[in-house]
């Protein structure tokens, strides 16, 4: 790990002022569960670390008629155990309760979860976000068992790691960014972008911006569910996950949002699955069909066909969970 300067501002405004306007020079520190491991592995070497631990305005969950406001420093554990989240946003609770282990959820924050960098093992071993060696992409012929099965025409092959992003997108959430020129709002969906070159990032954030909060619209009866599949259930990331939000009339689906995670460089909304659900009475068969539709356009790499099957199953089971046809632990 390289030596660095440590700053601990008291307000988000001060934090913004302490950040450099170029990538790589400074990094925000929230729970540190992603940043510190990158620094220990020499994947990131910021000269200045700006800790958010003293910025109290970024804490707290507020549930009201206008929806849910999540401060960027809300921990995953606080989110998972919040009564309003558990009652109205089952999909969020289901997504978060499986992240890492209790220790990770106690330190990991909402802002950090959305901004965490990919787990691609080439990236984490110093080959860059686009995983190249002497200009040659390493993933297509390499060990790509954990890489993208959608949106993988290159040059990006990594998968978006956040468990929180797909469900927030399915629920239509947005986030607020504070920069030198003041705040701006952005739908979470637009926060994730596929980089075209090594100079670009996978997040639509500027080096000197801070996420201050995430806003989830009122649930108004929207039913949500989340399902993920891990390989070893140890400290690993899921191989595929799906978040589903259903607006229902009885058992009939008025409108569906289906967003997959861990399958593409960005959280991957599936128009095909949404179409397959629209207007249908939810049943095992309809859920199965949604899964099949979601997987239909997948373009697996040489070693990750298994992920296509898992994506299909994740969608099916997330639909059943969201619709309340099965309970957690029964699927």
């Amino acid at each position: 790990m390289q030596a660095f300067e440590y700053a601990r501002p008291k307000t988000a405004q001060e934090a913004v002022a302490l950040l450099a306007s170029e990538w790589g020079k400074s990094e925000l520190l929230a729970g540190g569960s992603d940043l510190l491991s990158r620094m220990k592995d020499d994947v990131s070497a910021p000269q200045r670390i700006v800790s958010l631990s003293g910025v109290h305005e970024l804490r707290g969950i507020a549930a009201s008629a206008r929806g849910l406001r999540l401060g960027a420093l809300v921990t995953l554990d606080e989110l998972e155990t919040h009564p309003a989240v558990r009652e109205h946003y089952a999909g969020i609770a289901q997504a978060v309760e499986q992240v890492g282990g209790p220790q990770i959820r106690n330190v990991g924050t909402v802002g950090g979860n959305l901004c965490q960098r990919p787990r691609c093992w080439y990236y984490r071993n110093g080959f860059g976000l686009l995983a190249t060696y002497k200009g040659r992409p390493l993933v297509p012929d390499g060990d790509n068992r954990y890489h993208a099965i959608f949106g993988n025409e290159g040059p990006a092959y990594f998968v978006s790691p956040s468990s929180l992003a797909p469900i927030l997108i399915a629920l239509g959430a947005s986030l607020r960014l504070l920069g030198p020129d003041g705040p701006r709002d952005l739908p979470v969906e637009q926060f994730f972008v596929t980089p075209k070159s090594e100079a670009e990032r996978e997040h639509a954030i500027k080096p000197n911006e801070v996420i201050t909060e995430v806003l989830v619209p009122p649930a108004n009866g929207t039913k949500s569910g989340f399902y993920e599949i891990l390989q070893k259930e140890s400290l690993d990331w899921p191989l595929a996950m799906a978040a589903v939000a259903l607006q229902m009339e009885g058992r009939r689906v008025e409108k569906a949002r289906v967003v997959l995670g861990q399958v593409a460089p960005v959280p991957w909304p599936s128009a095909e699955a949404e179409e397959a659900l629209k207007g249908k009475m939810v049943s095992e068969e309809v859920a199965e069909e949604a899964g099949r539709a979601a997987a239909s356009k997948a373009t697996p790499l040489s070693k990750n066909k298994y992920k296509v099957q898992l994506a299909r199953v994740a969608v099916k089971r997330a639909v059943l969970l969201a619709a309340g046809l099965v309970k957690k632990g029964e699927v």
């Binding site: 282990g101 599949i229 390989q231 259930e233 140890s234 690993d236 298994y306 099957q309 199953v313």
Partner: protein, 775 residues
């Protein structure tokens, strides 16, 4: 009258301090002037070392010294190997690589600095020129003529070939009435992953000419002898202390180069030197376990009786021998017949050098491999003959009257009743009900699997004739003037709980409160001799030494009491803090006798003052605990995920001194065994890079992944020691792996599956399901 303490669920003496975070581990030791050491390790699996540039490291802030292999050559002995196998090739194993590196993670240079961070940063500044050589990774290819040779001076990559034969396998080949079943099993490489990594503090004090070493070790006395030899010191000038040790699982039954280096640095610098291993180092450079390829031929009569077993074991030993590396696979050969009296056996074990970290004793050490082989074989027999796996086992068990039972492998099993434990576990699991449920679910396209394992293991290591450094153990009991008791043991428990069971033995025997007994171990200045804790020997061998020492004390106390009471010593019993006749008519307080013995006012003639006895117990044989396990799994047909739904274990470890300790050992052991079956695997790529080098990639199981384990016991005492105790430290790990694999193979029977190699990862299972559906 107080209930006997032995056999009670007495709470552990160790727990209050451990639960409150008040245990003292190596890293908690702070000494004035202490320096810290870090290692530069090889990035290559196999390479010649060119020049090593250390100037930048030497100039780095806080750095006191930098050592390379050249600097220590001739100044520090080789890393020792104690395994005695005929014709064994032993490569020279320097604490720091000298002209060649042979595995990723091999120490190349050491930096000593004022702080751990300074040492680590400086170690990263050392530049080593390597000339990479082709890596030898696959042990079968390592045997080929054209393979690169790791230790040129040894000629080839074969460390040893050992043959074990009993009966006459050759005669079976001609017998056409026999069915021959062939199989090939891979027992993958595992990491022990103790919670506390390795660590050492060495403090050489020039004035006293005394080297004191605190090490996270399972064998302080062996370590003391070896460090004394490596550092050319008299053993009297060397003291080893094992403070609290946060788990070992066999990985700390060793003498490591880093321990040697800490001693050398402290001797040269005259200051204490500490080294604490990081987790990555722990996965790279602490011994690994298992790693065998087994090719089998099994001869079976049509009724399911197995009459012959041939096995070739290829054991991947890694690049160098650690303390017991080559001995481990020979235990597999020894126990390959499991609970079955198969008259003809032939095992050829080939130990092979590869460019990897050494394998050595990991919980079970050779016996889990044996159990896996024979228990998978029993299921294959059932599969081929279309029999119930229960019936195949019953058919091949010896009768309880056959014990002691001499097997063609050359070992003699002490006592057992395999039928009883199998029946008991089947009852606990509701075996026939489970089979019906399985049928029902199969019709619905759901896959439930039921797996058995009936195991026997060899432990309580062991008679000195079979152990390189002796197999006895030392125990001492002394009673202090206040009547409180101090117990010393040459064993070195590190989580097992013998502070508790040893105190139970002594309090029970002396008829005094459990809290009056304090147990010490792990300091070579306090305990004059010892072997250590491994091979499930601590209670059976170490506990017996204490029991015998206590017996001697009791004799002496009885003579003193008898003298006072005017009775014969043989008439007296020890109970409720008194020594008295059975009817209680003549009685004297325990404390009074203690005072008499120590203040020595009216001792009977011929009795020396003091209450202080020791004993060295030499067992006449190993012991052979056994048991029967049932695993119930569900396989998710869509994803290939496996859920362990139920686990039932009936274990027989001889006499149970404390059921809670036994349960704890079984639970932990089963968890590690399931870890091997389902998740754990150390993977080296074709260049010899360890690609499962962090806990992110190496899947150590966590509590939430398990169902509750239903444990029960049967008690078949052993005559090998007076306590009747067999040992239980490794039983779970030895017994459980095949139960889980058998269950998964059983679940996938409709797909024609006969065998799947571990770990049973979901993707592997899904591919099988997919093919099956297609067919």
């Amino acid at each position: 009258m107080a209930t006997p303490l032995l056999g009670q669920r007495v709470k552990r003496k160790e727990d209050p301090r451990l639960i409150q975070g008040r245990g003292h581990y190596v890293d908690d030791i702070q000494l004035p002037g202490m320096l810290h050491m870090a290692f530069t390790r090889s990035l290559h699996a196999h390479a010649r070392i060119g020049s090593i540039r250390v100037a930048a490291a030497k100039a780095a802030p806080g750095v006191v010294a930098v050592y390379t292999g050249q600097d220590i050559q001739g100044q520090l002995g080789w890393v020792p190997c104690a395994a005695g196998i005929e014709g064994l090739k032993v490569p020279r194993h320097s604490c720091l690589a000298i002209d060649k590196v042979c595995y990723v993670g091999e120490p190349v240079a050491a930096v000593v600095a004022a702080s751990g961070y300074a040492a680590r940063d400086a170690a990263d500044l050392i530049e080593v020129d390597y000339e990479p050589l082709p890596a030898v990774v696959n042990p079968e290819k390592a045997l080929a003529k054209e393979s690169p040779v790791i230790h040129e001076e040894l000629g080839d990559n074969v460390a040893f070939v050992a043959k074990l034969a009993g009966g006459d396998c050759a005669s079976l080949e001609a017998d056409k009435t026999l069915k021959v079943i062939k199989a090939r099993f891979i027992n993958q490489r595992l990491a022990p992953v103790s919670m506390e990594t390795r660590g050492v503090v060495a403090n050489y004090s020039p004035g006293e000419d005394l080297l004191t070493v605190w090490s996270s070790t399972q064998v302080p006395h062996i370590l003391k002898t070896q460090l004394a030899i490596m550092n050319s010191l008299d053993e009297a000038r060397c003291r080893v202390i094992a403070p609290e040790v946060g788990g070992g699982f066999g990985s700390k039954l060793n003498v490591y180069g880093e321990e040697g280096m800490a001693c050398l640095a402290s001797r040269r610098l005259g200051r204490p030197v500490k080294w604490i291993e990081g987790r990555r180092e722990n996965l790279q450079a602490t011994i690994h376990g298992r790693d065998q390829i087994n090719e089998l031929e099994v001869y079976v009569r049509p009724d399911g009786k197995v009459v012959g077993l041939k096995c070739s074991i290829i054991a991947d030993l890694g690049a160098y021998h650690q303390l017991l590396t080559p001995a481990i696979p020979t235990l597999t050969a020894l126990m390959i017949l499991g609970c079955y009296n198969i008259p003809n056996v032939f095992v050829q074990t080939t130990g092979v050098f590869t460019n990897k970290m050494a394998t050595d004793a990991y919980r079970g050490a050779g016996r889990p491999e044996a159990t896996y082989i024979i228990e998978r074989v029993m299921d294959l027999v059932a599969h081929e003959l279309n029999m119930d796996p229960v019936d195949v086992r019953m058919k091949n068990f010896p009768s309880p009257d056959d014990f002691p039972l001499a097997l063609p492998t050359g070992v003699t099993y002490d006592t057992a009743n395999y039928q009883r434990s199998l029946k008991k576990v089947l009852k606990a699991a509701g075996y026939s009900r489970l089979r019906k449920e399985q049928e029902r679910l199969r019709k619905k396209g759901k896959y439930l699997g039921i797996g058995l394992s009936t195991y026997v293991e060899i432990c309580a290591m062991g008679p000195s004739s079979r152990m390189p450094a002796g197999g006895w153990e030392f125990g001492e009991v002394r009673i202090d003037p206040t009547g409180k008791v101090t117990v010393l043991s040459g064993t070195s428990p590190h989580g097992q709980g013998e502070e508790t069971s040893f105190a139970q033995i002594v309090a029970d025997g002396l008829g005094i409160p459990y809290d009056d007994v304090t147990v010490y171990h792990g300091d070579t200045f306090q305990v004059p001799m010892g072997i250590g804790t491994f091979g499930s020997r601590t209670t059976a061998v170490g506990g017996t030494a204490i029991y015998q020492a206590m017996g001697r004390l009791k004799k002496k106390m009885a003579r003193i009491a008898a003298h006072q009471l005017g009775v014969k010593p043989g008439e007296l019993v020890f109970r409720d803090r008194r020594i008295e006749t059975e009817d209680g008519q003549k009685s004297i307080g325990f404390a009074e006798v203690v005072a008499e013995a120590i203040f020595a006012k009216q001792l009977p003639p011929g009795i020396d003052p003091g209450l202080h006895e020791h004993s060295v117990f030499e067992p006449s044989n190993y012991t052979f605990p056994f048991g029967a396990h049932v695993a119930v799994v569900e396989v998710d047909g869509e994803t290939g995920e496996i859920r362990l739904r139920n686990y039932y274990a009936v274990d027989d470890c001889g006499r149970v001194l404390n059921p809670m300790l036994v349960d704890g050992q079984i639970h932990g052991g089963v968890a590690q065994a399931v870890g091997q079956a389902l998740w754990e695997e150390l993977v080296y790529d074709e260049n010899g890079q360890l690609i499962t080098g962090s806990l992110m990639d190496y899947a150590v199981p966590k509590a939430h992944q398990f169902c509750w384990f239903e444990t029960q016991n049967t008690e078949t005492r052993t005559p090998v020691n007076p306590l009747g105790v067999k040992g239980v430290g490794e039983a779970g790990t030895i017994g459980a792996t095949p139960a889980v694999v058998n269950a998964v193979v059983d679940a996938l029977k409709p797909f024609g599956v006969r065998h799947i190699d571990m770990p049973l990862k979901p993707e592997k299972i899904w591919r099988i399901l997919k093919q099956g559906v297609r067919n």
